[in-house]
Symmetry: C2
Subunit: 382 residues, 2 copies
């Protein structure tokens, strides 16, 4: 039983979300992550609400099990420490604006010359090239500019933000894939690589269907509310006590749905094929709800599931955290405090791997500079 990244050391200069989310996944797979933070303040998210016992739940959720050392990269002595860390590390991650690392003397060219095995992972709003390279960005800026907001929400109303910070998270996940590919590659070449991931690029990368529609038809898709844009029925329906989803993705499933709900629509030309059903989607929704409004959603979910039709409730986050399937998969873990008591709950590791531990708890998130002594001893600097 060993994590696949056991022995990998990640020097993490990133803060807030995209970079720390990436290093969290690496830590969950066994990497040692050392956060290098600004003295005095540290990662901005240390000050993000909500708090419990004076600690940010948000910071804890993303930074559990990492170590922290505060270094001023303009100070001579701290730079010396940082450079010994660089010599020991397998990966360095940063999310400064392009040019900042170069000004500190730690740009990719310099680092690659001095530490040829070091892998350098950068995540930024717009990437290290291009006309807007140096502009600042936050999650919502790239959700807006990258197109996902334009297809999320209700038709004829203002677009909405995706409730999860996917502007950051998708970029962090691409950075993770790049770093892991570079680690594999380095086993053969002995050389590190630079990975440059932009939040904006990453937003475009997830628009598969919308890009296909736009480039073939010339017309960008509008927001489709709670429906799939080109499959019907594949949307939310009201039961007597709340909303649930029916996703009947093909003709066979639609036939099963009609049988299960006792809907006499099977010879009806308006609903014969998916194309027909898309044309008459609003009518079909009403015909289905005329049935489903009569009973609570648990009734319909049980019945449709028995018939093999993909279905499920719309759950609020508190409901998700109690979902038996989520709990059976060890997807809600306890982040411990220093005394070994459960302090926060957080999402577990969704990468379930044979022969690797999947613990139900996580080590605490570090205090700012909380591992200085331990790290300096490891470096032989004490």
């Amino acid at each position: 039983m060993a994590h696949p990244l056991t022995g990998v050391t990640v020097l993490d200069l990133t803060h807030v979300l995209a970079g720390p989310f990436c290093s969290m996944t690496l830590a969950d797979m066994g990497a040692t992550v050392i956060k290098v933070e600004r003295p005095g303040v540290g990662d901005d998210t240390r000050a993000f609400p909500p708090f419990k016992d004076g600690k940010s739940a948000y910071f804890a959720a993303i930074n559990h099990g990492k170590k922290s050392i505060a270094l001023d990269l303009k100070d001579e002595d701290d730079r010396a420490t940082f450079e010994i860390l660089l010599a020991r590390a397998d990966v360095v991650l940063e999310n400064y604006r392009p040019g900042v690392m170069e000004r500190m003397g730690y740009g990719w060219e310099d680092l690659h010359a001095r530490y040829p095995r070091l892998i350098y992972g950068a995540v930024s709003g717009f990437g290290h090239t291009g006309p807007d390279s140096k502009r600042p960005a936050y999650d919502m800026v790239v959700q807006a500019r990258g197109g996902v907001m334009s297809i999320t929400g209700e038709k004829d109303r203002d677009p909405v933000r995706v409730g999860a910070s996917i502007g950051d998270i998708i970029a962090g996940m691409y950075l993770g894939q790049g770093v892991l590919a570079a680690l594999f590659d380095r086993e053969k070449t002995g050389k590190g690589r630079k990975i440059d991931v932009a939040m904006l690029d990453s937003q475009l990368a997830i628009l598969e269907h919308a890009v296909a529609i736009t480039t073939v038809t010339g017309k960008p898709p509008a927001p489709s509310g709670a429906r799939h844009p080109s499959i019907t029925p594949f949307e939310t329906f009201h039961a007597s006590d709340g909303l649930f989803v029916i996703a009947a993705g093909n003709d066979k499933l639609f036939e099963k749905l009609c049988i299960t709900l006792n809907l006499p629509l099977m010879g009806d030309d308006r609903f014969a094929t998916n194309v027909d059903r898309c044309k008459h989607a609003r009518l079909l929704k009403r015909l289905i709800e005329a049935v489903t409004l009569d009973h609570p959603r648990a009734h319909w979910i049980a019945k449709l599931t028995a018939a093999g039709i993909p279905t499920g409730p719309i759950q609020t986050v508190d409901q998700v955290l109690k979902d038996p399937q989520i709990l059976a998969r060890n997807m809600v873990v306890d982040i411990l405090d220093k005394n070994g008591r459960a302090a926060f709950k957080a999402a577990g590791n969704p990468i379930k791997m044979s022969d690797a531990p999947d613990p139900t708890t996580r080590a605490p998130s570090p205090d700012l500079d909380g591992n200085r002594g331990e790290i300096l001893r490891w470096l032989g600097r004490e």
Copy 2:
């Protein structure tokens, strides 16, 4: 100049989106991906609209550069071919319902015993364990059950679906990270691993902020429309000609914003801290729009950008595809047809890596069984 995954062979039994999205990223980093498809029909998405010259743009966008062989895994001869492929492959990917691979004699235990170096990546709706393991799922079922829909949309209206298929895509990206970590690990141990990723688990994994709020306050967050749930101002604003985003994530940026918009709010207690601004978010939005409604959004974006304040337009997908920054980053590539002509446009590779090619075109997506001859020759079966 070499891709980091050059020489890696991926045997891909997956179809539709989560699995193929994973293998697309691996292919973009240099892996050889062989799609093993059902004879006669192949991947369902071959039939997904929109079409161009009889070919699905959707299928092309996700499967470019892969090879295809049609194999009936119940046929003796095809099984023999498949087993030689397994012996040659580094990775096998599948997205069947749990139990299907076992029934065909290709479950993890069997494969691991016969091909100890083979890495086995599985993606499914609910994972290979837990009470709902065998239920069918589609993107929208896990978006609904996994909580992201409950925080996406407008307050007091029905939740909406995220316009991109993040139920599939996030799971595919976690699978990619698991496979890459296992490839790295195998360089040291010589042994393959099984990776079991559930779409539902993956949805919970991206709810960092919502999980923190729910577990600390006991109350799940409501959908927050086009606002960040706990930072203000961090939302959309109307200009004279459309919507744009201002993301002033801290006090210093808020001060800059007041100066740039000539808003006399700096001594005002209602807006002194982020907590105050969150309390008076609706009022603040109106005070800002009283200014921004006077000019087009290009005016404000230029002005705010000059002041260093994160901002940007809400773009439709056609606008994103023409965005100068996106184009400068080679994020719109041409998928070629067999005659080497540009047939489709698709998103490029967001993982920009030093010393790796970043081509502006992609090889065609394969015809069903289109690479049979070539693959059989490679296996010495012809």
